[in-house]
């Protein structure tokens, strides 16, 4: 508590910071509670919208392949596959590339190159997804169809994933567009993480005779591994929810195909393309059900990330 003082000038001087403190606390508190409330209300609303479909199809919605507005049969299996496959492939390609970019920009690149290349990578993150999708339609799709997919088919055609005739839309271009989309996100976070590794640790490691690679492998990466996991999960969440660019190149396929050359669809893509023209209440509810699944997938990705981060933290705590 602040003692009262008779002098008005000093009261004034003391009260002002107190208002500031209270103001900051209220502002920050309202913002924090507001965001929690927003998430809660949003989840409630989506589940509420989805309820007729949840009541009708139950959990079998998850593994039913039908999506038929005429007969009123809806299921999410193919869409879950499309979402999971395109996002996971994107993350599998993007994570090593992006971490390598982060390392290059923080440790390996000549100092003069770091700022311009870093800015370019961040510029890549600023490209609107619809533009990336357009590039996917005009350049990437035809290129894959004419040059990459025929070869993949020749070499690996015995695997169902690479069977069937090449096409300019499908899972493969979708996964590649997503890869390009998440590389800059993961790369710029990785760079910040590597820059946060204390210089004395790096210097110490080098002084003890480590090569640069040994320093990176034994000192820099373990120091920030928890952060890298979080960065990759951030990229995964971005890929899971991307609707526009994916629906531009994935081909809006209504039927399941094991081949990555064939048209498919994702949860986010189906919601974006069909919600407006929904012909029945059940279809609207089923589209909301897809949103519930997407929410759940993001939640699972988050919890997994939390668990990995915790485990890494425990391991590091134990090592000391």
């Amino acid at each position: 508590m602040i003692a009262e003082t008779p002098a008005p000038a000093s009261t004034f001087r003391r009260r002002r910071p107190r208002f500031g403190d209270a103001g900051l606390r209220v502002l920050a508190g309202v913002a924090a509670i507001g965001s929690l409330l927003l998430v809660a209300l949003l989840t409630y609303k989506v589940v509420d919208e989805a309820w007729p479909s949840i009541a009708q199809f139950g959990l079998s919605f998850l593994w039913s392949e039908d999506w038929n507005a005429v007969t009123g049969e809806f299921g999410a299996r193919d869409l879950i596959w499309g979402t999971a496959f395109s996002s996971l492939v994107a993350v599998a390609i993007a994570a090593p590339v992006a971490i390598a970019i982060g390392l290059f920009l923080s440790e390996l690149a000549p100092r003069r190159l770091r700022a311009p290349v870093g800015a370019l990578v961040e510029l890549l993150a600023a490209i609107p997804s619809v533009v990336l999708g357009l590039w996917g339609i005009i350049v990437l799709g035809p290129f894959l169809q004419q040059h990459i997919e025929p070869r993949l088919g020749d070499w690996l055609g015995f695997i169902p994933l690479f069977s069937g005739s090449p096409s300019n839309v499908g899972l493969l271009p979708a996964a590649i567009v997503l890869t390009i989309m998440i590389i800059p996100i993961v790369a710029s976070i990785s760079r910040e993480l590597f820059l946060s590794v204390p210089g004395d640790l790096k210097q110490g490691s080098l002084a003890l005779g480590s090569t640069r690679w040994e320093m990176v492998r034994n000192v820099a990466i373990p120091q920030v591994s928890a952060g890298l996991v979080a960065a990759v999960i951030l990229g995964l969440a971005r890929a899971l929810g991307e609707a526009i660019a994916v629906s531009q190149v994935i081909g809006g396929g209504l039927n399941f195909s094991a081949s990555v050359f064939q048209p498919a669809d994702t949860l986010a893509g189906r919601i974006a393309s069909q919600y407006q023209g929904s012909t029945s209440n059940l279809q609207t509810a089923s589209l909301a059900y897809l949103a519930v699944i997407l929410l759940a997938m993001s939640l699972i990705a988050n919890i997994t990330a939390q668990l990995i981060v915790r485990r890494i933290r425990q391991r590091m705590g134990g090592a000391h």
């Binding site: 998430v39 949003l42 989506v46 919208e49 039908d66 999506w67 038929n68 507005a69 005429v70 007969t71 339609i137 035809p142 005739s165 096409s167 300019n168 839309v169 976070i189 928890a226 952060g227 979080a230 951030l234 969440a237 899971l240 929810g241 609707a243 629906s247 081909g251 809006g252 396929g253 209504l254 039927n255 048209p263 669809d265 949860l267 986010a268 919601i271 974006a272 393309s273 069909q274 919600y275 407006q276 023209g277 929904s278 012909t279 209440n281 589209l287 949103a291 997407l294 929410l295 993001s298 939640l299 990705a301 988050n302 990330a305 939390q306 981060v309 933290r313 590091m316 705590g317 000391h320």
Partner: protein, 370 residues
């Protein structure tokens, strides 16, 4: 916090790292939520965008939204009608589905849709009238290297291509309809609309009426479950997919045929003829089918054989208006203009004038608005 024993500093350090991490993780949740629900949120906003602007004081404004097919016609009506009656029309061509949603939420004064309301949609719209206000057509298009415009096709052949029974362009079923045309063995790639579409409705209605297989396996809908093929969004997406794919077959609104110089297939009508889609053949279909259904729609697809020149995938596009409206008098006035004076603008844009019986029907519907 900072005066802990030295032994704990490593834990403290990692603890701090945890805290640093929570920020990105919260961001992950928020981001995923935002992305996951983008579809549903934005659609509601689309209709709401201009909704409240019309309520201002004395200036007379009518706001509409929906069909992109009818938009060229409305863009001619807007300035002409403003000159004549001093009422400003603001129309957002956001697609038939969006138009239905907007008028259901009453965020606009009128909606426009190429497909009649489904029963669920009609119930949700709560006392909406739908009336035909322009004539149009959906056209089957294709891109096969070496094959010229106006290939002849029957509904059954098109249905077989879309169910995967006919997989190559030199199939005997296509060849026998087109003697003298040199057909390559290019693979057939069916293209369909992945979003809800009046064109899908007309197309699948036609296929359902000529092919019993199609009727039982797929049916007629604005969002049918096509058994095979590639989806594309909007007419422009389908047109682009046709142009970029050798062997593609697809369907678009008639205005896209000329605009994008696409090939138009000639579809067989009930009389066994192959009329070229255009003003006269659409008018012929409209003249042959004038019976109004209980829901206010007038199906034109595949009219009887007596209409020898009728194009079989003709369609009405509909205005959807609430029976009770604050702007009843303006709405009545505008709709009356649309079905009378407004029809004259259609000829140059590919919309034939509606038959007089339909105009009379519309007038009795307009009188119900209050």
């Amino acid at each position: 916090m900072h005066n802990r024993a030295n032994g704990e500093t490593s834990m403290e350090k990692t603890g701090m790292k945890m805290k640093k991490l929570t920020a990105p993780l919260v961001a992950v949740v928020v981001l995923a939520l935002a992305a996951g629900c983008g579809g549903s949120g934005s659609s509601e906003n689309n209709g709401g965008g201009g909704g409240n602007q019309g309520d201002g004081g004395g200036s007379k404004v009518l706001i509409g939204a929906g069909s992109t097919l009818v938009y060229p016609l409305l863009s001619q009506w807007e300035p002409d009608y403003a000159d004549k009656d001093g009422i400003t029309i603001t129309y957002g061509a956001i697609g038939s589905g969006g138009g239905i949603e907007a008028i259901t939420g009453r965020t606009v004064d009128f909606g426009a849709s190429d497909a009649p309301l489904s029963s669920d949609q009609a119930a949700a719209c709560n006392g909406c009238l739908q009336m035909p206000w322009a004539l149009g057509a959906t056209v089957v298009s294709y891109n096969v290297k070496g094959v010229d415009d106006h290939l002849k096709l029957t509904g059954q052949v098109v249905a077989d291509m879309y169910t995967g029974k006919i997989t190559s362009w030199n199939d005997p079923a296509i060849a026998s309809l087109n003697p003298g045309v040199n057909l390559p063995d290019t693979k057939v790639t069916p293209v369909y609309r992945s979003d809800g579409s009046g064109d899908s409705y007309v197309f699948t209605s036609y296929l359902s009426s000529v092919s019993s297989d199609w009727k039982s396996q797929v049916g007629a809908s604005t969002q049918p479950a096509f058994p095979t093929g590639t989806g594309a969004e909007k007419n422009s997406g389908v047109a682009a997919a046709i142009q970029s794919t050798d062997g593609a077959i697809g369907y678009v609104a008639i205005s896209y045929i000329d605009a994008d110089s696409l090939n138009a297939a000639l579809l067989q009508n009930q009389a066994g003829n192959y009329p070229v889609p255009g003003l006269d053949t659409i008018s012929a279909a409209a003249a042959a089918a004038t019976e109004v259904q209980a829901d206010g729609s007038i199906p034109l697809v595949n009219p009887p054989a007596s209409a020898a020149d009728a194009y079989p995938m003709s369609t009405y596009t509909y205005a959807i208006v609430p029976q009770k409206s604050d702007k009843a008098s303006e709405l009545k006035d505008f709709l009356t203009y649309a079905i009378t004076d407004g029809q004259a603008f259609g000829k140059d844009l590919g919309f034939p004038e509606m038959p007089s019986s339909v105009i009379e029907h519309d007038k009795t519907e307009i009188a119900k608005i209050s």
